[in-house]
Amino acid sequence: MENKKKEKVLSIKDLSITFKTSAGEVNVIRGMNLSLYKGETLAIVGESGSGKSVTVKAIMGILSNNGRIDSGSIEFTYHRGDKEIKEDLLKFSKKEIRRRINGKRISMVFQDPMTSLNPTMTVGAQIMEGMIYHYKTPKKEAYQKAVSLLELVGITNPEKRMKNYPHQLSGGMRQRVVIAIALACDPELLICDEPTTALDVTIQSKILELIKDIQEKTGISVIYITHDLGVVAKVADYVAVMYAGKIVEKGTVDEIFYDPKHPYTWGLLSAMPDLNCNDDKLYTIPGSPPNLLHRIEGDSFAPRNIYALNIDFRKEPPMFHITDTHYASTWLLHENAPKVEMPGELRQRIDYMLKEAK
């Protein structure tokens, strides 16, 4: 697997997005670079307001009307027959992207399954809708496919369920239906925006295992947006940590969890409740995220960072190369920076996790 040349599915370059609000212009995405390869899973983590959802909305072309893309490109590669086609998603008009990409090549699963399903349509009709619109599939064929999709997502009695309305299903089943709809047109890329936040832990683990299973069967690429690091550990191959509209650290899941370099990642990992330790207090990152209404001088995380250097307040750190897959944007990695180790408790926790894994 390692030697096989990996195919890029999505490549985001220098993306910058601004929202016009009554309080002024808010620069929510400030220069973002990211790529995703075929068959792999990328998880984007970060606090609310860090720009995770805006990024994927830009990919889908469903930014709200006050959003403006200042610069950058989102290159999406897909196959039509044997031909490989590369296109910049930002060049499409809203109509065009709706006709050619959304639901057909890239589809999305939202957080709350009740609000993303149409309450007046049967489940079956909603699954067939996309196929009929995008591929003009004959109704009979679409029906067959919808039944097999429901089977794929683990719904028993699929033929009976086709006639059900969303309110007749439980939360977990609804989310399964949403996934079936997303997969109806055999997309190249599936985006899951907090797919399990509204669900129970038991159902959450089932849904995550389901998406993983489907990925193995169909080889699609998946982007997860989540703030639950447990979920990330379960599903992701690559992780991108976002803070205030920028990626501050990216790497493989092992690199992020066992060898994090950015102080923000340290904070995130420490803030996670751990079933094995018995501390009285949960760790919290001091302060709150910056207000993006104001221009940010230097490193956006510096005011909350106890390890911040003087330069952090003046100059924005570039992405430092750690390994070929692991990058972090913090001045601590500069060769002239003083050596700073991650907090002791986190070190202990990681050592413990590594020991446990053996």
Partner: protein, 305 residues
Amino acid sequence: MAQPLLEVKDLKQYFRINRRFIIKAVDGVSFVLYPGETYGLVGESGSGKSTIGRSIIRLYEPTEGDILFQGVNISGKLSAKDTTHLRTKMQMIFQDPMACLNPRKKVIDIIAQGLDIHHMYASQQERKEKVYRILDMVGLSREHANRYPHQFSGGQRQRIGIARALIMNPDLIIADEAISALDVSIQAQVINLMKDIQQETGTAYLFIAHDLSMVKYISDRIGVLHLGHMVETGTKDEIFQNPIHPYTKSLLSAIPQANPKIEKKRIAMSYDYGTSGIDYTKGVQQHIGGQHYVLATETELKAWT
């Protein structure tokens, strides 16, 4: 042992859907809560955990069973005096902080509403002072008092919800999924805040949640609910170190651990009530040790341990 603050005895809460169909949301649940402790109620959606919270605070009229608050039965009709007592000493924090705060009122008026209703201040100055003191306690500043809820972030709004509950100086706060709608880092802040407040004021919490890892942090004792039955209860160590009921085990195994090397290979245990052959109505509360009880029949208990 101290006098329990809250005693729930064989609580049953049924909802009649139509003539032939009754939903048994809560079916014979009993537990006690002591002053100053935190009791965590966990379970999947539809297990009846929120219903219990709502029955206790009298949003529903219990079908059967007794609820005793500070020794007074509060499940039936109440005198005006008891109602007033109950409405001040028992408070609730809701899940969605945006939905439970009146968008047209300023924060100071939202927080002081309880004081207004129960005439608990002598002058406007005193009212203000009381609100400021509570704002300070939950980590908000005085300037926030004259803002509207939409001007706050999610975590701050939940703090307002907590402040509103706290101002009545309650003995019991029911937190119904109070942190589920928040971010991980904010969740930690709110949990820490609730713990600090408990140390300061000695209030008890009934903490309802589905996220077991957070429940573990805040609770002294935990009750696991499934389909309206309390399947297992005990101190948090008893539940986490020595889970006995298969449902508890599956619930614990479903928590994703932030350790990729393990998590990638692990498959959560599944538990299906329909096929497991367990009948909750047949089981009785079996004593395991300490405060640890499991709902089971004799034969089931033997098979599980």
